[in-house]
């Protein structure tokens, strides 16, 4: 595209983000401040993820973009078109064919492989923010590894509901040190963070923070001995592919209470249906 640098961002901005990314990888789970730029889309639409993707993407990379697991929803389609226009890269919906996957709020069901990079869009990177509004205080809490308050929050869930009621953006501890917000992925996806062979990068555009989980890194979901971490399960199976072990979306089909459950990961569901057919 004429008039723009490859992948939209100018080279100096990319270098600044690249240097921050290397520090993020070196200190897994630590939120590195970076000079976030205004992107041609509003905050909340993945400007953090887009800036990271723009900084790592090459002309020969194959890009996949998903929004809540789906390749065909608004956010995914618009970001995919953005990079087709400003970088001219090849895109795909197949998880296995992609080199870089930008994601909003899901980790693909298909296991990732070494060499792939997963870029998460993060709205609020600070896991302690709803407990402690001051950035200065939360930064100090991370420095002192003062995370007791997070366990108190989970305990309050147990006291009130009898179980840990947090179902998404479930806090994790990375490599035994930093407590990290895995972005609003369902806690169903948390086990996929642990020891994943792919590199995982997280970008928050409005908050101007990025962080990373290198491949094969220990990632534990916070829990208690007598209330161990558990993922969601359903009585239903996917109405389209019959999967009984994927994350399901509930879809309302009419105004008479009709509903169906389908895989949130469209590529996974379509691949399964193709194999069955």
């Amino acid at each position: 595209m004429d008039g723009y640098n490859f992948a939209y961002l100018d080279e100096q901005t990319k270098r600044m983000i690249r240097r921050a990314l290397l520090k993020g990888v070196a200190i897994p789970g630590y939120q590195v401040p970076f000079g976030g730029r205004e992107m041609p889309m509003p905050y909340g639409w993945g400007t953090g993820g887009v800036q990271l993707t723009a900084s790592i993407l090459g002309a020969y990379d194959i890009l996949k973009v998903i929004d809540q697991g789906a390749d065909d929803t608004t956010n995914a389609v618009s970001i995919r078109h953005f990079f087709q226009r400003v970088a001219g890269v090849e895109t795909t919906t197949a998880t296995t064919a992609a080199d870089v996957i930008q994601t909003r709020h899901r980790i693909p069901e298909t296991p990732l492989r070494s060499g792939q990079i997963l870029v998460f869009q993060v709205p609020i990177p600070e896991p302690l923010r709803f407990i402690e509004p001051s950035e200065q205080e939360t930064r100090l809490m991370h420095a002192l590894e003062e995370y007791g308050v997070m366990h108190v929050k989970l305990y309050e869930d147990i006291a009130r509901y009898g179980h840990i009621a947090t179902t998404y953006a479930y806090p994790v501890k990375v490599d035994g040190r930093y407590v990290m917000d895995p972005s609003p992925i369902p806690k169903f996806d948390n086990p996929k963070l642990d020891g994943n062979p792919a590199l995982m990068l997280f970008g928050a555009g409005r908050e101007k923070r990025l962080y990373a989980i290198p491949p094969y890194t220990r990632v534990e979901s916070l829990d208690f001995e007598d209330h161990p971490f558990e993922v969601q399960s359903w009585e239903h199976t996917c109405a389209l592919c019959g999967s009984d072990h994927s994350y399901l979306d509930e879809v309302i089909t009419d105004d008479k209470g009709g509903r169906m459950f389908v895989c949130s990961d469209t590529d996974y569901c379509q691949t399964r249906r193709g194999e069955v057919a």
């Binding site: 490859f6 100096q12 690249r18 290198p214 491949p215």
Partner: protein
């Protein structure tokens, strides 16, 4: 007259510090290799770019570390250069190609260029603070050799055994036998005690590159072999 000018051009061309032919795409390609090296500590990668001129003392830098400089440095970064690498030609090339500021104060450096021979554990590089651990110096070190054993074979008899983030089990990396190499790895092994403060290191040997970030646990293979013998 013409002949004299041609001769002069010929000689200076050998002394030219090369830039990136295609800055946007070359730096992206090199960055992904550097990112891969830091994400999976101890793995080797070869950077494809023209080597800097083979003139002492700065020839020790090698193509890989020069590629890192061209990819990551710009007018927002400060670079510290060890005395045994320093030359007016390197300073001029660094300033010309990147616009980076050269500093004499290691504590203010974003990047430090050094060799294993000149590594001094007492040099006060920035290690960041507990609240901002990212504000530390990244060491770019020219080392004797780079050999690794991705299988993390138990029979490795030299080098350093790495584990931690980016490494499935363990991986053995050998950067050389010199006293400087040993001092450097001992210093990097000390990162764990001060984590999240610490030094991140990128090693270069010719066009080959490897990295050890501060998150990596480092143990000497020899020390382990010794302790097994005594057992």
């Amino acid at each position: 007259m013409d002949k004299a000018m041609t001769v002069k051009t010929e000689t200076t061309r050998d002394l030219v510090w090369p830039g990136l032919a295609d800055p946007a795409h070359d730096s992206q390609r090199l960055f992904r290799q550097i990112l891969g090296a830091l994400s999976e500590p101890g793995t080797l990668t070869t950077l494809a770019l023209p080597a800097p001129p083979q003139v002492a003392p700065s020839d020790a830098l090698g193509a890989a570390l020069w590629g890192v400089v061209l990819t990551l440095c710009d007018l927002e970064t400060r670079v510290w250069i060890a005395a045994d690498l320093d030359s007016p030609a390197l300073r001029e090339a660094l300033t010309f190609h990147t616009g980076a500021r050269i500093t004499d104060d290691p504590a203010s450096a974003d990047f430090a260029l050094l060799t294993h021979e000149s590594f001094d554990p007492q040099t006060p590089f920035a290690v960041g603070s507990d609240t901002y651990p990212d504000r530390g110096t990244t060491l770019l070190v020219a080392v004797e050799r780079l050999e690794n054993d991705s299988n993390g074979a138990d029979d490795a008899d030299h080098g350093w055994r790495l584990s931690g983030p980016g490494i499935a089990e363990s991986r053995v990396l050998d950067i050389g036998d010199g006293a400087g190499c040993r001092a450097l790895m001992t210093r990097l092994a000390g990162n764990r005690a001060s984590f999240p403060q610490g030094l991140d290191a990128i090693f270069g040997c010719g066009a080959q590159l490897a990295a050890i970030p501060r998150s990596t646990r480092i143990a000497s293979v020899e020390a382990r072999a010794d302790s097994q013998e005594t057992n």
